[in-house]
């Protein structure tokens, strides 16, 4: 059963159109909506005027540059109100970790402006935070690698004495590095502290098969769809540039347990490792679709289409079947455009590929 969006008349805004070596999920989310037959207007909200998706033909109808999430809600709403004076937006699908919390906190304000979305509550969002995951899931018998929160070098030194190398050092929001020595650990700790703030997370490495699971939670403890994949190609930044859909009942059961525990609403990506004895550990829960989300549509569960339907309050039957063995291979190619397009988006902070009514 596939979702048909061809008769849906609405405007959807999607964020994050970078498609380089660290791609954002916005472009594949738009592709998924189009794959489902969506013919409505698509508005792209970007933070950088050189995000490659801006220059892709037939992707977004309108593009607006947004203020960075750190700018605060007042600046954000000013910009949004300007955008709404140009185009109507019915649904926003935010795709970047750093902006999700702002959307959650502004839910009522955005609803008042006629904008809907299908995101977790603030409580759900905070519960999956790297700094809380360990505490909460450990108590519930959901495997989490031994993790520590570190605020200074002395603490890091003490932690390193209690676990074995190699281990991971992770930034509060982004980035993770595997370290093999105390020197490396101090170096990475300093960099991540400066870049993402405190605490920095120290996590014991778990050996095993790594899987990623994209899903949409219904907000009541169930899942509306779920696609698990194993990365086939991993870049030096740890990004999956190829993957295959797997059929592993243990993974499904694990994902169901996590989502039931959190009563997760909206899109998520679970990063998990299954060790040689079959035990599964949760490494991270990302509160958004992953950049490989187009694989979900390819495998028969168009998760962004489900998300859009839920945001609009339309009925959705949970999807359980998918095509195991579906693969994705990410490629890069040069988009040919014109400097005038870059000039327009740089100076006006907006670009329209379709006539604005």
């Amino acid at each position: 059963m596939s979702i048909d969006l061809s008769k849906l008349e609405c405007t959807v805004a999607v964020t994050g159109l970078k498609t380089g070596d660290n791609p954002q999920p916005g472009t594949p989310v738009i592709r998924c909506l189009r794959d489902a037959g969506f013919k409505g207007r698509i508005v792209a909200l970007v933070y950088d005027t050189l995000e490659a998706g801006i220059f892709v033909e037939d992707l977004a109808d309108d593009i607006f540059v947004m203020p960075y999430p750190s700018g605060g809600s007042e600046v954000f709403l000013q910009r949004l109100d300007y955008i709404l004076s140009q185009v109507k937006i019915d649904v926003i699908i935010p795709t970047l970790d750093s902006e999700i919390i702002n959307y959650i906190r502004l839910e009522k304000v955005l609803n008042d402006r006629g904008i809907k979305f299908f995101l977790p509550t603030e409580e759900q969002f905070q519960a999956r935070d790297k700094t809380r995951l360990n505490r909460m899931f450990d108590e519930l018998g959901i495997g989490v690698p031994k993790s520590f929160f570190c605020t200074d070098a002395q603490e890091l030194y003490n932690i390193a004495a209690t676990i074995t190398f190699p281990f991971f050092i992770k930034g509060k929001l982004y980035e993770a590095y595997e370290v093999y020595s105390l020197d490396d650990a101090f170096d990475i700790f300093g960099k991540l502290k400066a870049k993402w703030g405190l605490p920095v997370i120290v996590q014991q490495k778990v050996y095993g098969d790594e899987f990623n699971i994209a899903l949409v939670g219904d907000g009541e403890g169930g899942m509306l769809g779920m696609i698990p994949q194993r990365k086939l190609i991993i870049t030096d930044k740890g990004k999956g540039f190829g993957g295959v859909v797997v059929d592993n009942p243990e993974l499904k059961e694990f994902a169901e347990k996590v989502i039931k525990t959190l009563k997760w609403r909206g899109p998520a990506e679970l990063e998990v490792i299954q060790n040689a004895t079959g035990e599964i550990f949760i490494i991270e829960i990302n509160p958004r679709f992953p950049a490989w989300i187009r694989l979900s549509a390819g495998a028969g569960q168009n998760l962004p289409a489900i998300d859009l339907m839920m945001a609009l309050g339309l009925p959705v039957e949970p999807m359980t079947e998918y095509e195991t063995g579906t693969i994705f291979i990410r490629h890069s190619e040069d988009i040919i455009s014109h400097i005038n397009k870059f000039g327009t988006i740089s100076s006006l902070k907006e670009l329209h590929n379709k006539e604005v009514k």
């Binding site: 098969d209 994949q229 295959v244 797997v246 059929d247 195991t324 063995g325």
Partner: protein, 81 residues
């Protein structure tokens, strides 16, 4: 020998093997496919050796040695236990 996992793998005619539970794939040859198919029919090691000797000009000792090595590989890959 437990071959339940082996029964779930997908094998193409070209010898490409895909384990759907882990996403890992392997390349194999004609002999490997023959053995896997026989294991999936729950044939014993002696039955497999006899079948191969019917089709190929090999000694019992040689095929036993190769079969044991291949089964060890399958065990290491967690495809049989």
């Amino acid at each position: 020998m437990n071959t339940s996992k082996l029964k779930k793998i997908a094998i193409s005619e070209s010898g490409f093997i895909f384990d759907p539970s882990t996403g890992i794939s392997y390349n194999s040859n004609e002999m490997a496919i023959t053995i896997i198919n026989l294991l999936n029919k729950d044939r014993s090691e002696e039955e497999i050796i006899a079948k191969i000797m019917e089709e190929y000009e090999v000694t019992h000792d040689a095929i036993r040695r190769d079969l044991e090595y291949f089964l060890t590989q399958l065990k290491n890959l967690h495809l049989v236990s």
